[in-house]
């Protein structure tokens, strides 16, 4: 379980960073999404991994429980990254349509500063 989760976070992060370094809007946006999935998984794991446990403290028994706070944090992070992705898609699209160039590093095809 730990190995699965850790390698998922690692692979998602690595692919995300690779795509962001491509410096074209579409791969960069996909890369940012992958990176945010990696971050969400990582946040989820910060409350320790507990399988099939309720996120509630039971005062009648010394029952095991899973930490509810990281789940709330992940929810917030998902909402924010979803909104941000929508914004960056819109801005990148209008930048591409007005400049006819999808590089994000402010240089044009010939490598000259725009």
């Amino acid at each position: 379980m730990e190995l699965l989760l850790a390698s998922a976070v690692g692979i998602l992060t690595a692919s995300g960073i690779y795509l962001i370094l491509r410096q074209r809007s579409f791969p960069v946006i996909i890369g940012l999404s992958l990176l945010s999935y990696a971050v969400n998984l990582f946040l989820f794991a910060t409350g320790r991994l507990a399988l099939n446990q309720p996120p509630i403290l039971n005062k009648y028994a010394e029952a095991a429980y899973t930490d509810p706070l990281p789940q709330a944090l992940v929810l917030t992070a998902i909402v924010i990254s979803f909104g941000m992705t929508a914004v960056v898609v819109m801005i990148a699209l209008s930048a591409y349509l007005s400049a006819r160039n999808d590089r994000i590093d402010m240089t044009d095809e010939t490598g000259e500063d725009a």
Partner: protein, 518 residues
């Protein structure tokens, strides 16, 4: 409970949707509501400052959940000062945007402006690390909209770059917070401070990783070398009044460093000892050097001011990274100066660009050239740190605070040499802009159909700017700089008390966690 503390967040949060939903087609009503909201925010900030002045720490528990279970807003001297600084700057910027007609060159300027204020003020007031992240996102998402206000191909491309860079920063922020949470099990700043201090020394590898990641995030916001690459292109291509407002955004990064690394990872904490100061000081020196060399090398006025903003962040971070009460006093004085001076310079740059374009090449004289030249001169003096304006006092304080450091000679040499480079760069720009214009060999250029970014030239577009109003905020900012110089004594006493409060965090922690003195 003292409800004043949440007012600076609630007011713009109510006004902004109101502007979008109810008065979206009424330009004048939008202006009235936006200015009224900013004026009210200024009054609220004064009330908050009066409350925090005597050193009491106000705590506002959202939903009445006690800390560390609920989110708290905390008002201390530092928060109150930063809130007032933001609202004063906002007043100048919103008046300029109306006076120059910038607010009508795209839609929803005033609504985005209010959301931006909500994010900045929230970031200064919150006492919870995850809530700090949320307010960072609020201010960033509003800044994305403001950054591309008015459109144009170059601005949109710079906007994409800015958004992508900051989204990466946000991911890093979440990873840092997750790491801290996994070690301490809390995200309330006061509670973090208690838990971090209690951690056994051999169990702190993850904690140190978290502390460094968090520093990286704040360094991105504060544009510290080598993470500054987003700033020149973004600020130079943003609408200049928006760039003037962004002068406070890089200060949010500086504020967060000062807050987290005095409260949670304090200078006395053994596990992170030397982790921050040792890295931050060389980076800050390099930032200052890169900023001033950029001023000298800039070929365009917007970039020149953007690089001088980087240089002033460098000076500020030098003072912060020394982590002594005296240095923090100097840093807090310098942050007021640097915010006003950078914002003023961006507004002056806009006055120039509207009249003749931003390229640093000789063109024939511009209308009202004398007045604009005088303002440029004053702003350049303030930014370069020459007497008689407050930049001189600020740099003197920073250098005086560095006297006990091991690095004193490096710090002094870098500050003095970069000041000289900045003066030369500013003088070069000023003489090209204002003096070479009177050289008779300069021919008027062909009237441009379009500016570089494909937008129609400003003169055709600017709809009936309110005459003279554009100059009022620039003079107001200049007056603020003069007042900061004349009243340096009282200002210093306040920042000294603030620094003392920052370096004695026990009071803050006790008040937030409501523990009787342990």
């Amino acid at each position: 409970m003292n409800h004043w503390i949440i007012a600076p967040i609630l007011l713009p949060a109510v006004v902004a949707p109101f502007i979008i939903m109810v008065i979206r087609y009424h330009r004048d009503l939008q202006r009235v509501f936006s200015v009224a909201s900013v004026v009210a925010l200024n009054l609220i900030a004064l009330v908050l400052l009066a409350q925090a002045m005597d050193g009491t720490i106000g705590v506002y528990e959202l939903g009445d959940w006690p800390a560390p279970f609920g989110i708290v807003l905390v008002l201390d001297r530092l928060s109150a000062m930063m809130v007032l600084l933001t609202t004063l700057l906002a007043l100048a910027v919103v008046l300029y945007a109306i006076g120059s007609g910038w607010d009508t060159r795209g839609r929803h300027f005033h609504a985005l402006f209010q959301f931006q204020l909500m994010g900045v003020l929230g970031a200064f007031l919150t006492g919870d690390a995850f809530n700090l992240f949320v307010f960072f996102e609020v201010l960033l998402i509003a800044s994305y909209g403001l950054m591309i206000h008015g459109g144009g191909a170059t601005r949109l491309r710079a906007g994409v770059q800015y958004v992508v860079y900051n989204l990466l920063g946000s991911s890093l922020f979440l990873i840092a917070l997750g790491t801290l949470y996994s070690v301490t099990g809390t995200l309330n700043m006061a509670d973090l401070a208690v838990r971090v201090a209690e951690l056994p020394a051999e169990d702190t590898a993850l904690l140190r990783v978290g502390a460094v990641l968090l520093l990286l995030v704040f360094a991105i916001k504060a544009a510290v070398l080598p993470l500054h690459f987003w700033l020149p292109a973004s600020y130079a291509n943003a609408p200049m009044p928006v760039a003037a407002l962004f002068a406070i955004m890089s200060k949010v990064g500086g504020y967060a460093i000062l807050r987290m690394y005095t409260l949670v990872f304090g200078p006395d904490l053994a596990v992170t000892d030397g982790l921050v100061g040792d890295w931050l000081l060389p980076a800050a020196l390099l930032t200052l050097a890169a900023g001033s060399i950029g001023v000298l090398g800039a070929r365009e006025l917007g970039r020149l001011v953007a690089f001088s903003a980087i240089a002033s962040m460098g000076t500020l971070l030098i003072a912060i990274s020394l982590f002594t009460p005296q240095a923090a006093t100097a840093a807090l004085y310098y942050v007021i100066h640097s915010t006003f001076a950078t914002a003023m310079m961006f507004l002056v740059a806009d006055l120039v660009i509207e009249r003749r374009g931003g390229a640093l090449i000789p063109t024939p004289p511009m209308p009202q050239g004398g007045l604009v030249a005088a303002l440029f001169f004053a702003g350049a003096i303030a930014l370069a740190g020459m007497p008689p304006l407050s930049g001189f006092v600020g740099k003197l304080l920073v250098m005086d605070a560095a006297r006990d450091s091991d690095q004193v000679w490096t710090v002094w040499a870098v500050i003095l040499v970069t000041s000289l480079i900045t003066i030369v760069g500013m003088a070069r720009a000023g003489s090209i802009l204002f003096w070479k214009a009177h050289d008779h060999s300069v021919l008027p250029p062909d009237p441009p159909e379009h500016t570089d970014d494909g937008a129609p030239v400003a003169a055709d577009l600017a709809p009936e700017p309110v005459p003279g109003l554009a100059f009022v905020p620039v003079f107001a900012l200049l007056t603020a700089l003069v007042a900061l110089t004349v009243l340096a004594g009282p200002a210093m006493r306040y920042t000294e008390a603030t620094a003392a409060q920052l370096f004695a965090p026990a009071d803050y922690i006790e008040t937030v966690l409501q523990r009787p003195g342990s």
